[in-house]
């Protein structure tokens, strides 16, 4: 499986396409920027989290996000199944109204064997 880097960002950034199970849409396709500085599974904007009804599949534990400037924020977190073609994983999906990014963090990335081919601008799942 190969995914082209996002060329709209300078320098280009690796991204992957995943499908997540949500109470509203069974297989919702998401394009995520790979961010190894993010320790969670998936991060999406709160508006999308709410739209997909992930608020109906929340976990009992409380998750606190620590922003790079050291400020803690309370995250909204659901546990769901993520699929990348035939691969399937249980991953936490986090969100917060002030965060507008779609990221794939280490909880997801560490379950994959990934080759970052910078010169080709391609991410390959081995």
């Amino acid at each position: 499986m190969k995914f082209k880097y996002n060329e709209n960002v300078k320098p280009p950034i690796p991204k992957i396409k995943v499908k997540i199970w949500t109470p509203k849409i069974r297989d919702y396709e998401l394009e995520l920027v790979v961010d190894t500085g993010f320790s969670g599974g998936i991060l999406i904007p709160y508006r999308l989290y709410d739209e997909l009804k992930l608020t109906l599949a929340e976990v009992p534990s409380r998750y606190f996000g620590i922003l790079p400037i050291g400020i803690p924020i309370t995250l909204h977190t659901a546990l769901t199944e993520v699929s990348i073609e035939k691969l399937r994983f249980k991953v936490h999906v986090h969100s917060h109204p002030l965060i507008n990014k779609k990221l794939a963090g280490r909880e997801l990335v560490n379950q994959l064997k990934i080759l970052l081919d910078g010169p080709k601008g391609e991410l390959e799942i081995l």
């Binding site: 500085g37 991060l43 996000g65």
Partner: protein
């Protein structure tokens, strides 16, 4: 020159602070104001009444879950409990059944928990990519 907008009643002290912080960070005043406006809009769009309702529902569900955990923890250990908007929906044999029950729900917020498992506080670290 780009777009010029004249704004009345700007607090002089706030403007002075904005000017000095912007110049320290290498921003023009226009760039700093654009960032500030974006943040203000995002904050006001996000924290609306619907969001506050959701937070209230989550709080109610957490309280109810505590009660249910105390009541059924030993009897139904390992089974899944669903609480929606502070209302106990039921205990299910597996996660799939629990998820099916929330799919039909018209609630604002639901928690799915495994009985007997501790409720933890976890830390998630963000890199600069989040900004």
């Amino acid at each position: 020159m780009g777009n010029v907008i004249v704004v009345k009643n700007v607090d002089k002290n706030l403007y002075r602070r904005l000017k000095s912080t912007a110049s320290l960070k290498g921003y023009t005043i226009g760039e700093a104001l654009n960032e500030a406006i974006k943040l203000w809009l995002m904050l006001n769009e996000a924290v609306n009444r619907d969001y506050l309702d959701y937070l209230t529902c989550r709080e109610r569900s957490e309280e109810k879950l505590k009660e249910i955990n105390e009541k059924y923890c030993k009897k139904c250990k390992g089974k899944y409990v669903v609480v929606c908007d502070g209302i106990f929906i039921g205990i299910f044999n597996n996660e799939k059944e629990a998820l099916n029950s929330v799919c039909k729900s018209k609630a604002r917020e639901c928690i799915i928990a495994k009985l007997g498992e501790p409720i933890k506080e976890e830390k998630v670290e963000f890199g600069m990519g989040v900004l």
